[in-house]
């Protein structure tokens, strides 16, 4: 697998994360007493949207056509705050996995970006109540 393929995998995961957090934000707005979760979701949405845009530009710079988002993704239930937290952990774990893999396929500055993105995803997963994993992204 090439660097561009790994970056395309990250971009695909970020498309799903942006979709997932948009859905999650909407769901949380209708659930009482979730101010903290809404703030966390907004922060995570922004982070994933910025990563998506950065990856899109990186893939294009490498001469490839950036992978497009799917029309929709299955998110699972988002009826309760616990549902939303589970979805958020799933989103962060999924993105951590692709970034960990991308670290192995990239070098230099790009690898640094992948490492930072992996770290941010791992920290967010735990902020959402995910179980700490000694090896984020490799589990």
């Amino acid at each position: 697998m090439s660097e561009v393929d790994a970056l395309q995998g990250c971009l695909a995961a970020e498309h799903a994360a942006v979709f997932g957090y948009a859905a999650l934000g909407g769901a949380l707005a209708g659930i009482p007493d979730t101010v903290a979760e809404e703030a966390l979701a907004q922060r995570a949405y922004t982070a994933h949207r910025d990563l998506r845009d950065a990856l899109d530009a990186m893939v294009a710079e490498l001469g490839a056509e950036p992978v497009a988002a799917e029309a929709a993704y299955r998110t699972g239930p988002t009826e309760t705050a616990a549902d939303c937290r589970r979805l958020a952990v799933t989103l962060e774990d999924a993105t951590a996995a692709v970034y960990a893999f991308a670290v192995s396929q990239t070098t230099d500055e790009t690898r640094g970006l992948m490492t930072d993105a992996l770290t941010d995803a791992a920290v967010r997963a735990v902020e959402w109540g995910g179980r700490p994993d000694p090896f984020p992204g490799l589990g």
Binding site: H15, A17, F135
Partner: protein
């Protein structure tokens, strides 16, 4: 319609090759991994000391010490050597709060150290392991700051 969780899997199951600079820097990777293993091992021993000294911190400090043993084992496995002898000269603060703060600071330092190692590693698989360890330390630091 893809599930949000499946998207990441698609990218990771299709190959596990590694990017390497292929510049003959294998020796550098070896010394880098050996140094990292020593630091991880020393921190693990120190966390075990924290767990022994401060009952209130014990469960969490033991959890970190266990993770450290996994890191040392993973690096030893990557190097094909036995784990080093346990030792940690660093003292444990007498106050639990100070010990917790120091644990978070040491985790931050290890996070930065492993991230830098990941960046300079010539071997992609080793870089992946080091980056994951860096992320693990970031999570530890975050939890201990709370």
């Amino acid at each position: 319609v893809l599930s949000v969780a499946a998207v990441g899997g698609l990218a990771t199951v299709t190959g596990c090759g590694t990017a390497g600079r292929d510049d003959g820097s294998v020796g550098d990777d070896r010394s880098l991994a050996e140094a990292a293993m020593g630091e991880e091992q020393a921190f693990g021993v120190w966390c075990a000391k924290v767990a022994r000294r401060h009952r209130t911190l014990r469960p969490d400090a033991q959890r970190v010490a266990r993770a450290q043993r996994l890191y040392v084992a993973a690096l030893a496995d990557a190097l094909g050597v036995p784990p080093p002898t346990a030792s940690s000269p660093a003292a444990v603060p007498g106050s639990p709060r100070a010990a917790a703060r120091l644990l978070a600071r040491r985790s931050d330092a290890l996070c930065a150290g492993r991230a830098a190692d990941a960046l300079t590693s010539a071997d992609g698989a080793l870089a992946q392991l080091l980056a994951s360890m860096s992320a693990g330390h970031a999570v530890t630091a975050e939890r201990w700051r709370r």
